[in-house]
């Protein structure tokens, strides 16, 4: 049953990812990206990381996609399609990507992973405790750093967005 769900999400994600990078309508690209994010959240649910799945849904499907849609509406005339890349460029890049994929998969299948066959349930409380502990396997310093980083990014975005210079052409 879970295998079935995994394959459903996997095939859905691959199809929508390919459509997202090949569609010529910007709005449709964003909506296909949304479906890839939803499939990703489904796989987090299957891995029993409910908190990560919720974060994925709320940050990506909720926040980032809305940001993208807003900026597409601001800068792109929605009806006009993007120009198609040249055929030789498409073929060359596709070939190189398949080559890279082959190399990566070769490396993955060569390596004998020692799978731990114990099923350990993880709760959100454990995750929070690990995030805030300062002992072994504690992440308090990166956690504080990331909050400063987010603040800096917010201030930076405001500073970039409000500089009202326009070039006369």
């Amino acid at each position: 049953m879970e295998r079935l769900f995994f394959y459903f999400f996997g095939i859905m994600m691959v199809i929508f990812a390919v459509m997202a990078v090949s569609s010529r309508n910007m709005m449709r690209t964003i909506i296909y990206l949304l479906f890839v994010m939803l499939g990703m959240a489904g796989i987090y649910f299957l891995l029993h990381f409910n908190f990560l799945a919720a974060v994925q849904l709320s940050v990506y499907a909720g926040g980032v996609i809305v940001l993208y849609i807003n900026s597409v509406m601001l800068i792109n005339r929605i009806g006009s399609p993007m120009e198609r890349p040249k055929l030789w460029k498409q073929l060359l890049t596709g070939m190189l990507s398949v080559l890279g994929l082959g190399a990566a998969l070769f490396a993955v299948y060569q390596y004998p992973f020692k799978q731990a066959n114990t099923v350990v349930e993880t709760t959100t409380a454990q995750l929070g405790k690990q995030l805030l502990s300062y002992g072994e396997h504690g992440f308090i310093l990166p956690f504080e750093l990331i909050s400063m980083f987010l603040l800096a990014a917010l201030v930076g975005a405001i500073a970039i967005a409000k500089s009202g210079k326009t070039v006369k052409k």
């Binding site: 049953m1 879970e2 295998r3 995994f6 996997g10 994600m13 691959v14 990812a17 997202a20 990078v21 690209t29 990206l33 890839v36 994010m37 990703m40 796989i43 299957l46 891995l47 029993h48 990381f49 990560l52 974060v55 940050v59 990506y60 980032v64 993208y68 900026s71 601001l74 800068i75 993007m82 890349p85 498409q90 990507s97 994929l101 990566a104 998969l105 993955v108 299948y109 992973f113 020692k114 799978q115 731990a116 114990t118 350990v120 993880t122 454990q126 995750l127 690990q130 396997h137 990166p142 990331i146 980083f149 987010l150 990014a153 917010l154 930076g156 975005a157 967005a161 326009t166 070039v167």
Partner: protein
Amino acid sequence: MIEGVTLYEILTLTSIIFFVGVYGFVTRKNLLAMLVSVELMLNAMALNFVAINKYLYPEVLDGAVFSIFIIAVAAAETALALAIIINLYRLIRSVKVKDLETMKY
């Protein structure tokens, strides 16, 4: 771990999505579409961290914490990049890569 699914299958899926993202990043000429491809790559790698954590070391949670950090950094990156792109559009009325010369020198 997912019942009946090996780690190899999950890594195959994330590798495919990553290289689809690479393909899109190289072929697209629009800044926004390139950013969408970067999102695809980042998401695939975040899933990698979580899957390897769950399959190989299920008693610690380091991979999941790393994945949370990746999501936070990616959200900040998207917000900043979109701010820059909108500002560039106000300056040069275009989001095509070949029109961007103002930051070159």
